[in-house]
Symmetry: C2
């Protein structure tokens, strides 16, 4: 994390206060700044200046926080917490906060706690910093990608006639954790046959039958950093349409990889891949963006989509995941994680991508 | 969901607009209103009036949304989405929104999208409705509790000399999913020996040794509703202090159960349990609240804590989870889920609670 850069981008800001709320309203930037790999830290703050970084947390997380080389203040009551906030921001007027990282009610409550401050939104600056990964972050992302790759290779051996989607998802999660994931980075999608026509399918009672397509979309968290991979397998020989669907999506993904390089526009990359599908019989069936950033969130910035007008930079990490979906029939998606390099894309997920009939 | 009640509580409000953002900033109230058991629905809205409920979502979730008996509008672009928002709120001035359910930047963006509206915070009303569970919700919560209970019974058989905490967590998650959970309701905590001294321990590399305490805190999601249970086992005979710790926490939990009934104050319940620990040699070692609400979030309202000045009502669902933690030594926590009844507490998690030496 490069705090200097953040302050250079926001000249009037004297300190940055990040609040990590609760499960539905948390700010991964808290972990971006602290790089705390463990703990929940709900209701905790980090206060960052050009020179210092201070974690303000409850007794519940004290042991975890102190296990790292960090400056930690611990509160045991709401009053103590509010006093600490006043104390660390003393003498400062312009406080940067992340408007996207806290709920509107937490924003109002912060204004009440610190009535004499001017809050400046540094959310965009943090987001743009977070998009470019440091070596430390890349190491974690590579490890997360390695875990899903290993599991992806093992999935064909997991498929059994009559197994449910839930059973497969449970196995995939188990293998990810056994291989070092702290948790899945999102609810694993395992979809058989027509269920694969829903890009975000969840449910899982369907039993696997010969001739069905098997779409598995899964990710691993390693020290909070997320991978995300999709593989589509065929349990028995697919019909011609499904086979063609696979080949089309495969080519669309190749086109996506090829278009990626530092300096390229995100929507050009999306377009290069989309063109392959839209000039096939599956025109219009690619109903989502080509990809998304990866980092502390699994759907992180930037998004690769027809609307995503931005320029790729070295060490951004994004997914490339074209898909085709036909209601009641099925779907195919192939998704890999790549690091943007000067002249191209380094694919960090390595499980086989070609058509696999199990 | 009882929309009538919500409008009775907020007389000037003509319609309620709930926005479900992304993973770090989502509003479970979206699912409270829609009761959609499947799908992700990021960036989706539900608009509720006294008579209607309309889901506004993208193509990505269309198939999932249409599979339920709901009024659904689908957008394929940001402009279409904004037009839909204008259209459904047409003729309405006072729009209720959930200040705790959307980020400050999403709030500002909503104001821009609908400049002629007056936004009223209905977050508190929604929260108080969500605290009292309907029969439909209780059915889901009971099922979620059944899953963890079954797995809790099986844990003693999972413990093996030399296994890592991560391996145990992976097994627990696998068993929950095999028993019908869509996912764990939070990252499973498995802590051995001194690691059990951190209430929110995460990490997981420690290998199990004879004589160590094993604390497992885990929850299941069933149709989005969460259970949450902790069991503490002894892998080999514990020393006297740990045994006494267990007995003290056990008694504290009993006192908590006994204090619960409709009409009782939350902090009285917390106090009844805390007194047991604070009048033992473990005084001051119970460093968190007694419990929290359960529902669509695993840490939901209301909280049972020394600060929690509110009155329990029938069909609230809360955890009761006293704990004692001694740094470098270990910890004991016992946690169960209960439904508040007219005259007491119905414990819905059923795994054995007495001291178990494996």
């Amino acid at each position: 994390m490069d705090a200097e850069k953040l302050f250079d981008l926001n000249q009037n800001v004297e300190g940055i206060l990040i609040y990590n709320g609760t499960e539905s309203s948390n700010d991964p930037s808290f972990f971006y700044f602290t790089q705390l790999a463990r703990g929940l830290f709900e209701g905790s703050y980090v206060f960052v200046t050009r020179k210092n970084l201070k974690v303000i947390t409850s007794q519940l997380e004290e042991e975890t926080a102190r296990s790292e080389d960090l400056d930690v203040e611990v509160f045991t009551s709401g009053k103590q917490r509010d006093d600490l906030l006043k104390q660390v921001t003393k003498g400062i007027t312009f406080v940067g906060i992340n408007f996207s990282g806290l709920s509107h009610s937490d924003y109002l409550s912060l204004k009440e706690k610190l009535p004499d401050k001017e809050f400046v939104d540094v959310g965009e600056s943090i987001s743009s910093l977070r998009q470019i990964k440091s070596e430390r972050e890349l190491t974690k992302l590579r490890e997360a990608a390695k875990i899903v790759s290993k599991v992806g290779e093992a999935i064909p051996n997991m498929l059994k006639d009559g197994m449910t989607e839930n059973e497969l998802a449970a196995l995939v999660n188990y293998e990810m954790m056994k291989n070092g994931a702290s948790s899945p980075s999102f609810d694993t999608i395992a979809a058989f046959g027509p269920d694969a026509a829903e890009p975000h399918f969840s449910g899982g009672k369907r039993k696997l039958k010969k001739g069905e397509v098997v779409l598995v979309d899964f990710g691993a968290k390693f020290q909070r950093y997320c991978s995300d991979m999709t593989r589509t397998y065929f349990f028995g020989k697919p019909d011609k349409e499904m086979q063609e669907m696979y080949e089309t999506v495969f080519k669309a993904q190749e086109a996506g990889f090829k278009a990626i390089k530092s300096g390229e526009n995100g929507k050009v990359v999306d377009g290069a891949s989309r063109k392959v599908i839209d000039s096939s019989r599956f025109k219009g069936r690619f109903i989502h963006g080509l990809g998304h950033g990866l980092g502390l969130n699994v759907h992180d910035h930037p998004a690769l989509s027809p609307q995503g007008d931005f320029y790729l930079k070295e060490n951004m990490v994004v997914t490339v995941e074209p898909g085709v979906y036909i209601s009641k029939k099925g779907g195919v998606r192939i998704e890999d994680d790549v690091i943007v390099t000067k002249n191209g894309a380094e694919i960090i997920t390595s499980a086989p991508r070609d058509l696999q009939i199990v």
